[in-house]
Amino acid sequence: MSITVQNVTKRFGAFVALDDVSVTCPAGELVALLGPSGSGKTTLLRVIAGLEVPDGGTVLFADDDITRHSARDRNVGFVFQHYALFRHMTVFENVAFGLRVRKWPEQRVKERVKELLHLVRLEEKAPLYPANLSGGQKQRIALVRALAPEPKLLLLDEPFGALDAKVRAELRDWLRRFHDELNVTSIFVTHDQEEAFEVADRVVVLNKGRIEQQGAPIEVFEHPANEFVMDFLGNVNKLPVRVEGGRALLGETGDVELPAKVFGASANGRTDAYIRPHELDISRTAEGGNCMLAKVVHINPAGSVVKVRLLAEDFGLMINVDIAPDRYRALALKPGESVFVTPKAAKIFEPDYAI
């Protein structure tokens, strides 16, 4: 079932949580609502679930306008950030709740709950109370409880927010596989861009109640629509540039040119350029000449790339560069050494005169 949100607005007093938001979630896809706290992502999720009534706009499930339908009638599975398991019920009764209120016959309830608990490998926890489960276990029970009545749509509010890093990563993979098996349209909220990009088919980036960009993860990552998205997706060097004769030159003086497309509006003047750490290269010699001299400040070799932090004293800039471990070993970098940094790509956004 596809979900369409059209021009939805929601205010809490003077605070505008959602400002004319439109989103489409194609049937069967796993969609991430990504944004910083206060961006309205959870409110949007709750509007889709029917837990909040929008002040304006419509929500469509397939072609049905369900904007005014109660959460009860929407047949949506909702997983709360803090699980919201019924603390006075056993795990079995928690999962069975949605079936019991729908008056499923006892035999079918038992079979369905057993099947679901088997799916998340928690059969032996059936007689326990939620207080006796670990965070990851609670999360899985909350998920199968939401799935028990066979919802058409699964909504997850920061599903892994309260878990530690290792359990998080495991559950993330597991959710992706789970989604592929069930083929239920799913939407989840997260503030973690890595989580969104790793799991989702489609990413919707929100900020201050507005949608900044939506699309496939690769599309959003490679072609960020504006400075906010670029910045929020993380790990980017924001460098001041001056534009002279259609060329973007780094810093106040000097002639290191950035390979960025310059928009007519900022043909001459000052602006910011964005360069991702992997779009910079480090070398011992000034090959090609278009490079800046920088001193190595800090090296973090723990990870799939080596993160190097440098200070370009001529420009007064701190720069983060990611290089491959092979390259790192070949260069044999040490803190305090001076090297040359060459920009391979850069991005300048068209100034937004609307603001």
Binding site: F97, A131, R145, G316
Partner: protein, 321 residues
């Protein structure tokens, strides 16, 4: 130069060391938390002994001795006489009956009001919410005698509803319904005051989860809300009941103290005492005292249950993820 530095900087976790110069190393803080405990001066022995003795002294003089005196006086003529004092006088028997009628009805009214008010206050943000929170406390703030007089003003012959009530052949003052009204008013805050913090602490998520799972309002209340608040509710009911049975001031005003008709147990105690029938007065007073003791024991038991709930074995041991 420094400003420009920050400009091109991206906060990277684990970068603290690089900025160490203006950061103060942890070890240079003089007070480690544990040193607080070690250094805390313990109060001198004589202070502790004095305070304990003072507290026990007050309790003995003001609580223990009077309670014992009530039972001693009641049983002065032996168990047989005690039983006769309680059962022979039809007015006394009737007073027990009136109290056992008024208190449960007042408690029921309280449960309905308390749950509704707590739900509204804990779950919704609406205009006049603060006013409602304040209004709930009015019966605690107003003297019970004043509360009684308010009902006289409302339902008395010269009162606001008086003429209408008389025209329709109804009477509220000097009747059991009047007693129920006055008692309900005086005890109104008990259940609501207990439930509001409980419901606010639990939060709305479980109810919303039940809603999205397809439960209707009735199912949500009976299967989710009520089980979660039951101990708080019971606690409120016990306190409310104790007050309802012991209430004197408001009831005194609205009852007219018609023996055998509108006298509750506390009023009957007073009637007997005024009639110089001290043994009977003390006998009935001892029954009230016993009810209070039972209430107290129930209260302790419920508190124990609530505490136990809080200390529920939290995960860790069964953390076999």
């Amino acid at each position: 130069m420094k400003d420009e530095l920050k400009n091109g900087e991206e906060p990277v976790p684990g970068d603290a060391a690089a900025r160490a110069p203006d950061g103060v190393p942890l070890s240079s803080f003089p007070l480690h938390p544990s040193s607080f405990q070690a250094k805390r001066a313990r109060d001198p022995l004589w202070v502790r002994v004095l305070l304990t003795a003072l507290a026990l002294g007050f309790l003995t003089v003001l609580v223990v001795v009077p309670v014992i005196a009530v039972f001693a006086e009641a049983l002065a003529d032996g168990f047989g006489a005690y039983w006769e004092y309680l059962t022979d006088d039809p007015d006394t028997r009737h007073a027990v009956l009136v109290t056992l009628t008024v208190a449960p009805i007042a408690v029921c009214a309280n449960i309905v009001f308390g749950v509704a008010a707590a739900w509204a206050i804990a779950r919704f943000r609406f205009r006049g919410r603060t006013l409602l929170v304040t209004l709930i406390d009015v019966p605690f703030a107003v003297s019970p005698v004043v509360a009684g007089l308010m009902f006289v003003l409302l339902f008395g012959l010269q009162g606001f509803f008086g003429p209408w009530l008389r025209a329709n052949g109804l009477q509220v003052l000097f009747t059991v319904p009047g007693l129920i009204l006055a008692t309900t008013f005086v005890t109104l805050p008990f259940v609501a005051r207990e439930l509001i913090p409980v419901m606010e602490a639990i939060g709305p998520d479980e109810e919303l989860a039940a809603l999205s799972l397809g439960a209707n309002g009735r199912q949500i209340f009976w299967r989710i809300t009520l089980p979660n608040i039951k101990w708080g509710l019971l606690y409120g009911v016990i306190l409310c009941n104790a007050r309802a049975m012991g209430e004197f001031g408001a009831v005194y005003v609205v009852s007219g103290r018609i023996a055998g008709e509108t006298c509750t147990m506390p009023l009957q105690v007073e009637v007997l005492f005024q009639d110089f029938n001290s043994p009977a007065a003390f006998a009935l007073a001892s029954v009230l005292t016993m009810l209070a003791v039972v209430t107290l024991l129930l209260k302790v038991w419920v508190e124990g249950r609530v505490e136990k709930k809080k200390d529920d074995p939290q995960i860790s041991q069964t953390n076999t993820d």
